[in-house]
């Protein structure tokens, strides 16, 4: 049971325009908690600061203000050991599966490395066995065959599965998934999302599902947070947020999302009128 907590986290960037430098607040006073076994969706328009939050959690950006706590203790990326433990606990799946795998390394390399890093005692055979296991777990079978492949020999969905397997390798309890399907083809999306959902259930993972797709956010998470211009404007259980949006912004978002049912209704109305 791990909890990850963001306390009043703010991130500012320096923007240069012409001769002036201005401060731009990408994330402002974000507060939320992630627990193992729960999926929290973070939705919002492009540029609302979702990825920035993910990066701060992973230590790829440093918050300007505020703290990130893991099990109540502040995360420390400086101490080698503390960082190591953190890395084992929190993992990330990146947005673009085409960019998140190194074209020069085999699938096995991608999964084995984090494993070796976090289980230095494991023998090579054990590592290999675990890799195959993991590949099986993400439904890349036969694992022996996939392990030897290069990323260029995989489809987008398969790549994303490798990326997920890699994230699972250190046996984390928190998984940050930053738009894990937006680069994928429509028909593969659900497969990957379902996989994530299954793993969350089976491995008791805490998942932060970042997306701008309201529909999948609703169906794949327990809770939804809506971000707008760096601020979390609304949060609550998934169905509540979608079906009874409180904030104006959430309403706009929902209104903008394509919804065939709505058209259907409209057509029906029009026909009737005719």
């Amino acid at each position: 049971m791990t909890t990850l907590q963001l306390k009043d986290v703010t991130k500012q960037f320096d923007l240069r325009s012409g001769l002036k430098t201005t401060k731009f607040t990408a994330v402002s006073h974000a507060n939320f908690t992630l627990e193992s076994g729960k999926t929290v969706a973070l939705v919002g328009q492009s540029g609302s600061g979702k990825s920035t939050i993910a990066k701060m959690i992973l230590g790829l950006e440093t918050p300007t203000e505020g703290q990130i706590l893991i099990d109540g203790k502040p995360v420390d990326h400086h101490g080698r050991k503390a960082d190591h433990i953190f890395r084992k606990t929190v993992q990330m799946v990146f947005q673009d599966p085409y960019a998140s795998l190194n074209p020069f390394h085999t699938v096995e390399h991608h999964i084995a490395r984090p494993m070796k890093l976090h289980h230095p005692g494991m023998s090579n055979e054990e590592v290999h066995k675990r890799v195959i296991e993991l590949l099986d777990r993400v439904r890349l079978t036969p694992g022996e065959d996939f392990a030897k492949r290069l990323p260029s020999e995989l489809s987008g969905g398969q790549r994303q599965r490798v990326a997920i397997a890699r994230a699972l390798a250190p046996e984390p309890s928190i998984l940050i998934a930053d738009e894990p399907v937006s680069a994928l083809d429509v028909s593969i999306r659900l497969g990957v999302l379902n996989l994530l959902a299954r793993l969350q259930r089976e491995e008791n993972l805490g998942v932060l599902y970042i997306t701008h797709d309201m529909a999948t956010a609703r169906h794949f998470s327990d809770e939804i947070m809506v971000m707008c211009r760096g601020e979390i404007v609304e949060r609550g259980p998934a169905d509540d947020v979608i079906l009874n949006p409180k904030s104006d912004y959430t309403k706009t978002l929902i209104g903008a999302a394509p919804d065939p049912e709505r058209r259907l209704k409209e057509l029906a109305v029009a026909r009737a009128a005719h």
Partner: protein, 307 residues
């Protein structure tokens, strides 16, 4: 959105059988790369006047290839191996598009069929002012226009899509993504074409902007009466705006039907799968998908097919 106008025009089904503006017969395109890829296979399609035809299908199924092929924009190694494209001009004569060469072809393009391409950022030349890019449509097709007329016309076009006239002097990077897309639409309308092909015009935009643009397109179409081929892989989106929808898979059109029938009663398993890939926002199917098998969708991936 002004819902009333939108509904009104689409009530009467368009007459694509009797008075098509564009007829595509047995259209085949191959990429003769290291390995020959049949990107478009025996496509037959008729586009009615003023109709919005949605073209759906996932990445790589040949949607763009078909669109470019119709406008003769394909580059080597793409080869049109067979097929006929006939454009029935409003003025009352047919044009065999594949027989056009040189100046004839250039005169045909944009005048009769204009296009809006996927990424607006990339469709506009980053180092030329908006007015020059709008203007050179006129310098090419309306050489007799004076400079002032041209400028006026460009300004008018911009205003038509809701962009301020003084943006004529801007460079593309000075406009937001949505504005750039609108500029492209304005450009596509410049010569009052009869067909407009839109290749994923909203994919790169976020939903709010996307919504605005769609609204704009519908409005303009109604006002000027051009036919639209709207390409995207976002089926829900197509369902909202198109009269008929063609579903493509592996280069073939596997299903073609009017939007409502397609949604409510898909004939092909693949169409059904595609539809189910988009969980409904307000509908009730979320829980089903979440517990469903993840292999279902993956199996539908073109990448997963065995060689």
């Amino acid at each position: 959105m002004t819902e009333t106008t939108e509904i009104k025009t689409n009530v009467i089904p368009p007459v694509y059988e009797t008075d098509p503006v564009l007829e595509i017969d047995d259209f085949c395109v191959e990429y003769r790369a290291e390995k020959t890829v049949q990107a478009v296979k025996h496509v037959n399609l008729k586009l009615g006047r003023g109709e919005v035809l949605g073209l759906a299908g996932e990445s790589g199924c040949g949607k763009s290839t078909l669109a470019y092929g119709v406008n003769r924009l394909l580059k080597p190694p793409a080869v049109i191996t067979s097929g006929r494209v006939v454009f029935n001009s409003r003025e009352g004569y047919p044009i065999d598009v594949r027989a056009l060469e040189g100046d004839d072809l250039r005169m045909f393009r944009w005048e009769k069929i204009s296009m809006v391409f996927q990424g607006a950022m990339n469709s506009l030349n980053p180092v030329k002012k908006i007015k020059d890019q709008l203007g050179d449509v006129f310098t090419t097709h309306r050489p007799e226009m004076s400079k002032k007329e041209r400028l006026d016309k460009c300004g008018e076009l911009l205003e038509r899509v809701g962009v301020d006239r003084n943006r004529l002097n801007a460079y593309p990077h000075e406009l937001s993504g949505g504005m750039r897309q609108r500029v492209m639409i304005a450009m596509a309308m410049a010569l009052d074409p009869q067909v407009m092909i839109m290749d994923e015009p909203t994919t790169a935009l976020d939903v709010v902007v996307q919504r605005e643009i769609l609204r704009e397109i519908t409005r303009l179409k109604d006002e000027f009466g051009f036919a639209v081929i709207f390409i995207t892989h976002d089926l829900p989106l197509l369902l909202e705006i198109s009269d008929r929808i063609a579903v493509m898979r592996k280069g073939e059109i596997i299903e073609l039907n009017d939007a409502m029938s397609l949604y409510t009663n898909p004939q092909q398993e693949y169409t059904a799968k595609l539809l189910s890939s988009f969980p409904s926002l307000t509908g009730d199917r979320g829980s089903f998908i979440r517990t469903g098998s993840e292999d279902l969708a993956e199996g539908a991936s073109p990448f997963a097919t065995k060689e």
